[in-house]
């Protein structure tokens, strides 16, 4: 039987990707007690990197928000793997971190990161309300516009 969160994803028309495999000598997540630490995720869509560029320059604010949402979906795919496929075990999204490759005068990092934060609340309701930071990065891996990491609590 599908879990509540799985049903919610279907209502929202969201299918989670397979969590991208790390490209080096680290792992996509570490479970410590009830906490899951998820590595920074970049905007892979169907195994292809998307949203390459700089927000405020060749990437619009709206595209940056979409990129943050895609990164957050990849974060959730890793959390799902950590929960053996049962997202109902998520008791809280504790913290998200957002890194935005913005142009030198770009200041709307929080608005970009809302793409990730809104997704968590859409999916998990109050359990999706998290602490957060959003900062500008000089560069990001492979030249992507946004990277998102997270800490989750699971049962």
């Amino acid at each position: 039987m599908a879990g509540q969160i799985q049903s919610r994803l279907e209502e929202l028309g969201i299918s989670l990707p397979e969590g991208p495999a790390p490209v080096a000598n680290y792992v996509p997540y570490v479970v410590h007690g009830s906490l899951v630490f998820v590595s920074g995720q970049i905007p892979f869509v169907d195994g292809e990197l998307s949203y390459i560029g700089t927000v405020g320059d060749d990437v619009t604010l709206e595209e940056g928000q979409s990129a943050a949402r895609v990164c957050a979906l990849n974060v959730l795919a890793q959390v799902k793997a950590a929960c053996d496929g049962d997202l109902d075990r998520v008791t809280r999204c504790v913290r998200l971190g957002g890194y935005v490759n913005g142009s030198a005068d770009f200041k709307q990092h929080p608005q970009v990161m809302n793409g990730a934060s809104d997704l968590m609340v859409e999916i998990f309701g109050d359990k999706g309300r998290h602490a957060r930071f959003a900062v500008g990065a000089g560069n990001l891996p492979a030249g992507v516009a946004v990277e998102v990491e997270g800490v989750f609590e699971i049962a």
Binding site: F37, G40, G97, E147
Partner: protein, 155 residues
């Protein structure tokens, strides 16, 4: 008797640097329960910075990889101090966060950060496999090439 990890360090020909203590109002690590939060470390060698400058500029990618490895060694030195010299008490390297001082347009950040990740796995084996986030920074303190902070779990 030397512990397993100390023996491993010797096999690898690695000597831990003297743990760096800032003159500012923070401390190199805080332990809460079995979690050890280590403050951001730089590529310190013999009490001074071992790599100054931006990767993609004055610093080559290979040299930046070595700076990441040296910074990882400084993180292990702090963990060693926290464990009263017994690194066998390290249960897991949970998470690394890498800030890399890079020229605009340099995007091989993951390759640089691998210097620290590879070291953790060489030294701690599976216990060294961590979650990780990596970003490029526009500038870092003293123009250090890289800064990394870490969370370990210790027994």
């Amino acid at each position: 008797m030397a512990g397993q990890i100390n023996t491993r360090l010797q096999e690898l020909g690695l000597a831990l640097p003297t743990p760096f203590i800032s003159q500012a109002n923070y401390i190199p690590y805080v332990q809460t329960g079995d979690l050890l939060f280590v403050a951001g470390q730089g590529p310190m060698r013999d009490g001074g910075p071992g790599s100054i400058g931006k990767v993609g500029g004055a610093i080559s990618e290979d040299d930046a990889y070595e700076a990441a490895r040296l910074t990882g060694l400084n993180l292990i030195a702090q963990a060693n101090h926290a464990c009263d010299g017994d690194l066998d008490r390290v249960v897991r390297c949970i998470r690394l966060f890498g800030l890399i001082n890079a020229v605009p347009g340099f995007t091989n950040l993951l390759q640089v950060m691998n210097g620290a990740s590879d070291l953790m796995v060489e030294v701690f084996g599976d216990r060294g496999r961590h979650a990780r986030s990596t970003i490029g920074a526009v500038a870092l303190p003293h123009d250090m090439t890289i800064e990394i902070d870490a969370i370990f779990s210790i027994a």
